[in-house]
């Protein structure tokens, strides 16, 4: 029998992989994909809890996460493109934008 804990465990592992990707990779695009992975893991937890409580509200939250993900990726990748046009790199270690 698959319990709620199974799904939450899977979600936590996926989230942890996403965190690892953000922390260890240098390529800004891969960092962004890791963030998407974390959002997806959160979605899994939402859906699992919705099923557990038999409450549609959790599924509605997935929709808002989708809207946030779309907005984030549209702006985030626009920033990456703008940086690349200026610096010629997407390596996060070489981008220290805060001081310009």
């Amino acid at each position: 029998m698959v319990t709620l804990g199974h799904y939450l465990g899977l979600s936590a592992v996926l989230f942890a992989i996403g965190v690892t990707g953000v922390l260890v990779r240098r390529n800004a695009l891969v960092v962004f994909m890791s963030i998407e992975l974390m959002l997806n893991a959160a979605n899994l937890a939402f859906v699992a809890f919705a099923r557990h409580r038999a409450d549609v509200g959790g599924l509605v939250f997935v929709f808002f996460v989708l809207a946030v993900a779309a907005a984030e990726v549209a702006v985030g990748l626009a920033i990456i493109i703008a940086i690349y046009r200026n610096r010629g790199t997407v390596n996060v270690d070489e981008i220290n934008l805060m001081r310009w």
Binding site: H6, H52, A70
Partner: protein, 167 residues
């Protein structure tokens, strides 16, 4: 879903997720993430919400990942990248942070006592259908829904301004 199915699903999801952060080539990372998204859609199906599963594929795999592939093609990043990680210190820090995170999650979940909980078997009729979700969004969640359109508007304008100018 039975346990064998869940194990297969988890192997697919975790394996493709690891592939996302371990591939040298960003295109392969993106394709791995598409596989992860599909395996999560299967998980949603097994949790009784086919509508959310299909929407997940349409938005994440069909739109978000297309944008990633576009950017990789536009900037020509797909080829020459050696596998680069950040420095040793941050790697250790990262792994430690992830371990602490996993520990905290499992500790707090078992403290609440939901880990072994079985989902209620007879689900309310119509659970997870587009109809139920639509009724919920447009009655209980109207304000977040309208706020989402403001968010999308901001993203649209912001992305256009950023893309069109040089920083």
């Amino acid at each position: 879903m039975n346990q064998i199915g869940f194990v297969l699903l988890s192997v697919l999801a975790v394996g493709s997720a690891l592939s996302v952060i371990l591939q040298r080539n960003p295109v392969m990372s993106a394709l791995s993430l598409v596989v992860t998204i599909f395996s999560l859609a299967l998980a949603f199906l097994s949790l009784g919400s086919s509508f959310v599963a299909v929407v997940q594929v349409i938005v994440y795999a069909g739109a978000v990942m297309v944008l990633f592939v576009f950017v990789i093609m536009l900037l020509d990043l797909g080829r020459r990248e050696p596998f680069k990680l950040t420095g040793v210190g941050r790697k250790i820090l990262g792994i430690a942070a992830v371990a602490a995170f996993l520990f905290q999650i499992s500790a707090s979940l078992s403290a609440v006592g939901v880990m072994g909980a079985r989902p209620p078997e007879p689900l309310p009729p119509g659970y997870g259908t587009a109809l139920a979700i639509g009724r919920s969004v447009f009655t209980d969640y109207v304000y977040p829904f309208e706020a989402a359109s403001v968010l999308l508007l901001a993203a649209m304008v912001g992305a256009l301004i950023l893309a069109k100018r040089r920083i």
